[in-house]
Symmetry: C2
Subunit: 313 residues, 2 copies
């Protein structure tokens, strides 16, 4: 298997990206190779400095970089020799089986939807995050910011997508899917969640356990998969980041608090598209990049994309 990494993506690229890739070498499978997309001279310079043979990686030289300030869709067209555009081309041609980047989220989404395209039957692709819980197990939260003003049928599909992901990637046998809401009772909620509840309550496509409130996000008492609108999911996720930052600031730590660190969580998978794409935090450190590569490998190995295709066809 080949995993592609955008070596030019992220605030500390290519330094952090290449160092992360080197760290990942120790942990990836024997049959996995990492392909680095980016400025070949700078990449080989870092590798040489670190005493890492350039032959440890496949390197695809690119000459351009999509910057954070670029308009994602325009940059995708104009910067045709950028690491992200070339990476997506390789992904589309199956030269790599998964692609990860800590670069422009917008450009990664353009590539996901325009080059890789959504799976037939999926109304809206989504992005999820894996939330650490107090039990030590992880749960899946989606959507965390891609789609706002989600219609009930979109929320319903997120239940199915999250369930397939939790089963395939996290190894949860029969994932409990809950709808994030403002009360446990079926009649609680806003227009979208009330209608989504009605769609979910008797489904046989996934194991729906009802509504979950915000106070149970981290205890996994209720759910393995938590479905919400992207506006809500984004606020919830950033609230976690805010907590974590305060705890770090005050020197408060625990296994649970450390698990809230985005570096540990890795990247954000794009789900419902025809391949494996993972988007990292712009400020990714080498450790975060390493985890994102391992996460990409795991997702490819799990065959989750094929499982999505089977479910929606």
């Amino acid at each position: 298997m080949k995993i592609g990494l955008d070596a030019m993506g992220g605030d500390y690229a290519p330094e952090a990206a290449v160092l992360g890739a080197i760290e990942a070498l120790e942990q990836i499978g024997d049959d996995t190779r990492i392909t680095l997309f980016g400025d070949e001279a700078r990449i080989t310079e870092i590798l040489s400095r670190e005493g890492c043979p350039a032959s440890s990686f496949d390197i695809v030289p690119t000459t351009e970089v999509i910057e954070m300030g670029d308009h994602p869709a325009q940059a995708f067209t104009k910067k045709s020799d950028s690491s992200i555009v070339v990476g997506f081309q390789h992904l589309k041609e199956d030269k790599i089986q998964g692609f990860a980047s800590a670069g422009s989220t917008g450009a990664m989404m353009v590539g996901s939807s325009m080059v890789i395209k959504q799976i037939e039957g999926v109304i809206r692709p989504t992005i999820c995050t894996v939330v650490p819980t107090d039990s030590g197990r992880e749960s899946v939260l989606l959507d965390v910011g891609l789609n706002v003003d989600c219609k009930p049928d979109v929320l319903y599909q997120y239940g199915l997508i999250g369930s397939i992901y939790a089963k395939a990637v996290l190894g949860v046998d029969r994932p409990r899917v809950a709808l994030l809401n403002i009360g446990e009772e079926p009649e609680k909620g806003n227009l979208a969640t009330k209608a989504a509840y009605e769609l979910m309550k008797e489904t046989e496509e996934f194991y729906f356990v009802g509504n979950v409130e915000g106070n149970h996000l981290f205890d996994q008492e209720i759910a393995d998969v938590i479905v919400c609108d992207g506006f809500v999911g984004n606020v919830v996720l950033k609230e976690v980041e805010g907590f974590y930052g305060l705890m770090v600031k005050h020197g408060i730590s625990s296994p649970f608090i450390r698990a809230l660190n985005y570096e540990e969580i890795g990247g954000t998978p794009v789900l419902g598209i025809n391949s494996t794409v993972i988007i990292g935090h712009g400020c990714s450190t080498p450790k975060a990049i390493r985890n994102m590569i391992l996460q990409t490998e795991e997702a490819v190995k799990s065959g989750v994309v094929t499982k999505f295709k089977e479910a929606f066809n």
Copy 2:
């Protein structure tokens, strides 16, 4: 001034309510009296056991209690001699100037809207909470669960209501009002926040500082007042509760974490109505009741209701 307390409200009533009222006696102003609504025999029994003279309070005997399981609107009509219904009657007649209860939230909302009524010009009354921040100062978050699917003009009014509240009750000189959103840029958000931003951006009614993301809820770097839809606000608030619960469970503490305790925060004021109403947590302890009484006194003293009326007329 007279502050009314529903002595029958809350999971541990009347015990916790009466004990909380006794605790509050030490801290309320010399010119403030507390009126207890409830079962006179049980109230006086607790007072006597605690060695507190019954004359320390005004007691209004009532014979019924609206239970959590009762339908709020129906119970309000049927249980006309309940502590909540009688309390609202006294509030309406200005026999008390503020009313607090840890009882049925639904019944408290029925009383607020049907007996006290919203201030003319207010589209939707709201409930807010005071969020502790890392700076030690507090900020106001609204709406925290009363109104979902808020229209942009409702969000706009929440900016004004929150600003008046922060100034009058929290003593913030020129409250910075922000819109909770999923990006800082004006064009970010869902349909409602994008439109609300447009309404707020050039207002002179309050000091709008733009969007705030979920990671800045607790640091007060950006805002003193944070406006959001009630669905989002409720999830955000319960996420805090969940986080606090985990910290307690693991014996992790700090001044900031302790400040997240609902007992410290007190109750939830209903804003935009013609008097002062505060709703407490069902599981309120004596300490939480005491803080809710002090909060009610503070709100009445601040004249915030008059300030709302002036702003909306």
